[in-house]
């Protein structure tokens, strides 16, 4: 057994395709971008080597940390909303009527491209013609906020569509995980007189722990490098109030022609994400693997 499963040739054969792909197409660009970060370069003219200057400037850049704060807030919100997604998945995976149909409906926003989602929400939030304020007016709120224009609200206003859009993604994963639990285990618990809530918390949750911890990493990493909706809906504005790390990086590298600095910011983004992920993995690490 041990001999077969530690045969180097087989291991290489199974890991090589994926490893080669990411090495060539992800790591080489990554290293190149880290290298560009060492340059004073507009992306077009001559490169001047300036050592760690860009990285140091990045660490001292208030705007960068401001955007990092927003990214962290998004990561925190995303992580907490996992609990809601998980709850919904529990309900759907228990054998209630119509759960199959509901599950499909829940995933719809995820199927649409971000362009469509962004357009929809921009229209919802429109202060004069939008649905949201029309509704607030109707229930008697006279001066509803101008959602995307108000710097103290805009960030949260933009989180909602993101959390909404990703609901389907996590429900899909949790649902598959819950459906993967052998019926016999649950049956056994039921015979022992466990309530549905007890089964969910004591049996199912521990069994899909590994999956949950993977989704936590996905949610955090995904949030820290999030770009799409924010860029379309506010472009980071007004005046940086909804800027996140990735949109800040994009602005520097693509709009401001500060490619060296933008690359350095991109690299810092990655380092920050790495550190956070490392901590999260340590915290959520499972000592023993559970097998069914």
């Amino acid at each position: 057994m041990n001999k077969v499963m530690s045969n180097k040739l087989f291991i290489a054969f199974y890991i090589a395709p994926a490893l080669l792909m990411i090495t060539i197409l992800i790591f080489i660009p990554l290293i190149l971008s880290g290298y560009y970060g060492l340059m004073d370069w507009d992306g077009i003219g001559a490169k001047t080597f300036i050592g760690l200057e860009n990285y140091i400037a990045g660490i001292q850049d208030k705007l960068f940390w401001n955007s990092a704060l927003h990214s962290f807030l998004l990561a925190i919100f995303s992580t907490f909303s996992l609990a809601i997604y998980l709850l919904v998945s529990f309900i759907l995976a228990s054998k209630i009527k119509g759960s199959d149909f509901l599950r499909k409906i829940y995933l719809i926003p995820m199927l649409l491209s971000s362009v469509a989602i962004a357009q929809l929400w921009v229209k919802m939030y429109n202060p004069s013609n939008g649905m949201l304020n029309a509704f607030l007016n109707m229930i008697g709120i006279d001066n509803p906020p101008t959602w995307l224009a108000n710097p103290s609200i805009v960030l949260y206003a933009i989180f909602i569509p993101i959390l909404w859009q990703y609901a389907g993604f996590y429900i899909l994963i949790y649902y598959a995980a819950l459906k993967n639990i052998p019926e016999s285990l649950i049956e056994a618990a039921r015979i022992d007189g466990a309530t549905p809530a007890q089964i969910a918390l004591r049996i199912k949750l521990p069994l899909i722990k590994e999956v949950v911890s993977v989704t936590i990493v996905l949610a955090i990493v995904g949030s820290l490098k999030y770009f799409d909706l924010i860029y379309v809906m506010t472009a980071g504005g007004p005046n940086g109030a909804s800027e996140v790390m990735a949109s800040y990086m994009y602005k520097l590298a693509f709009s401001s022609y500060n490619f060296g600095y933008g690359s350095a910011i991109g690299f810092l983004l990655l380092v920050i994400t790495l550190i956070v992920t490392f901590i999260i993995r340590k915290v959520t690490a499972t000592k023993e693997r559970i097998e069914y």
């Binding site: 939030y125 202060p127 004069s128 224009a149 506010t234 007004p238 005046n239």
Partner: protein, 433 residues
């Protein structure tokens, strides 16, 4: 073991096809192929779906050019605005620009010219296009006395208003800035949001600031502040910033303007929700020839030059400038042909662009001889008698400073910055350069 063999083959071929191809180039050799024909790559930003008329004019010109020049083929790539800018950015990094493409003037050019990406076109202007351009337009594409772009459009900004809405509400069309504020207050009282402004695209707010700066400080103050012979802390510019906030305080702009895109603001104007809208001449077709816009609306739209402020300022001084222009890539394999094509394009473009696509071209056209809607003729006349055209601030500035300007504009309009802080932010960004 059958399975083993089969899966191995499948897997290997998958791996091979993915990696061997990355490793060794497939010699498909595109460009220099077919029978000695020269191919000019041309990239523009008028997709057929949204800008059919521009697209058709371009294709007409290309067809004519190919007919007149045997053995030359123009290879077209069309992208939307944002995508065009991003792609140009990526291509330039690898020195792979198309032979001919579109560029913006002044600040946008700087990195490309600094990196030797664009060919100087003075020889083309000298031999083929002498005196063809409206004065000042080609100059906007010049850096260190060399011209790197052949301008195609010229836009000036005017205040468009819906005359019918003024009449229906018994409000006088304002003639001065003070009346503009009064009229806005009157509209507010009737529950109408007076001026459509989509300051999420903050170049629109920048136009308001620029006009106020022009009227208060004269034509040169802002230009000097940008080229560093002056300062943004000039009292006139601080005063202009104060006036911006005064407009905000008086509820002149629509609610939540900082969260609205220009497109959303435009639709508020075009659907009769707001009576005023400050925009450049690229929107003229919407108010004249565009059949998709209701006739009734088109009939009720009029324009005015930005009014005087406290009796100060020259109403024939404009904010505006050339929009896109043609560049020729410095390391193009077919540089001579590309230059020839660019010159041909500009010559053909002028009349066709204004009559067929409603673009005000940067080349001189004889407005009298063309059959144009009245508003076009009027605007062309304004252009001819203009005392000054101040180039859009975000275009004048280099890309990095422009970003600061645009962000600060949002903050100023949103009252997160005082006029003094606004001035200082610009000074800091400009001095860092």
């Amino acid at each position: 073991m059958m399975i083993k063999k089969k899966t191995l083959t499948v897997l290997l071929s998958a791996v091979v096809s993915s990696f061997m191809l990355v490793g060794c180039s497939s010699d498909s050799g595109e460009k220099s192929s077919a029978s000695g024909e020269k191919e000019i790559q041309f990239m523009h930003l008028w997709p057929e779906g949204s800008s059919k008329k521009h697209y058709d004019v371009v294709n007409d010109i290309i067809a004519d050019y190919e007919k007149e020049n045997e053995g030359v083929k123009v290879d077209l790539e069309v992208l939307s605005n944002e995508q065009y800018k991003d792609k140009l950015r990526v291509l330039s990094t690898s020195k792979e620009l198309p032979d001919v493409g579109l560029t913006w003037s002044a600040g946008f050019l700087e990195p490309y010219v600094g990196g030797n990406m664009f060919a100087p076109l003075d020889d083309v202007i000298e031999s083929d296009l002498k005196d063809a351009f409206v004065p000042g337009t080609a100059e906007a594409y010049a850096i260190d006395d060399k011209t790197y772009g052949l301008p195609l459009e010229l836009n000036i900004v005017s205040l468009y208003y819906n005359e019918k809405m003024f009449k229906d509400n018994n409000i006088e069309v304002p003639a001065t800035y003070e009346e503009l504020i009064e009229a806005s207050k009157a509209f507010r009282e009737k529950g109408i949001q007076p001026v459509a402004l989509g300051n999420r695209d903050s170049w629109t707010g920048s136009m308001w600031y620029m006009y106020l700066a022009d009227r208060i400080g004269g034509a040169d103050t802002l230009n000097k502040a940008i080229d560093r012979s002056g300062s943004f802390e000039d009292p006139a510019l601080v005063e202009a910033a104060k006036e911006v906030q005064n407009l905000v305080d008086n509820g002149v702009f629509v609610d939540g303007f900082n969260g609205l895109a220009d497109e959303e603001a435009k639709s508020m104007f075009m659907s009769g929700q707001s009576p005023m809208y400050l925009i450049a001449t690229w929107d003229l077709p919407n108010y004249t020839t565009n059949e998709d816009v209701p006739q009734e609306f088109r009939d009720s739209v009029k324009y005015m030059n930005f009014p005087t402020v406290k009796g100060q300022g020259d109403m024939s001084s404009f904010v505006g400038g050339p929009g896109v222009g043609l560049f020729v890539a410095e390391d193009s394999d077919v540089k001579e042909e590309a230059k020839d094509f660019a010159a041909y394009f500009v010559k053909e473009w002028g009349e066709k662009a204004v009559t067929e696509a409603g673009v005000i071209p940067a080349t001189k056209v004889d407005a009298e001889s063309l059959d144009l809607p009245q508003m076009y003729t009027d605007i062309l006349n304004e252009l001819n008698t203009a005392s000054n055209i101040t180039l859009f601030a975000d275009v004048q500035m280099s890309p990095g400073v422009a970003q600061t300007h645009l962000d600060s504009i949002q903050a100023l309009f949103g009252k997160e910055m005082t006029p003094e802080e606004f001035a200082k932010a610009h000074e800091d960004a400009l001095s860092k350069q």
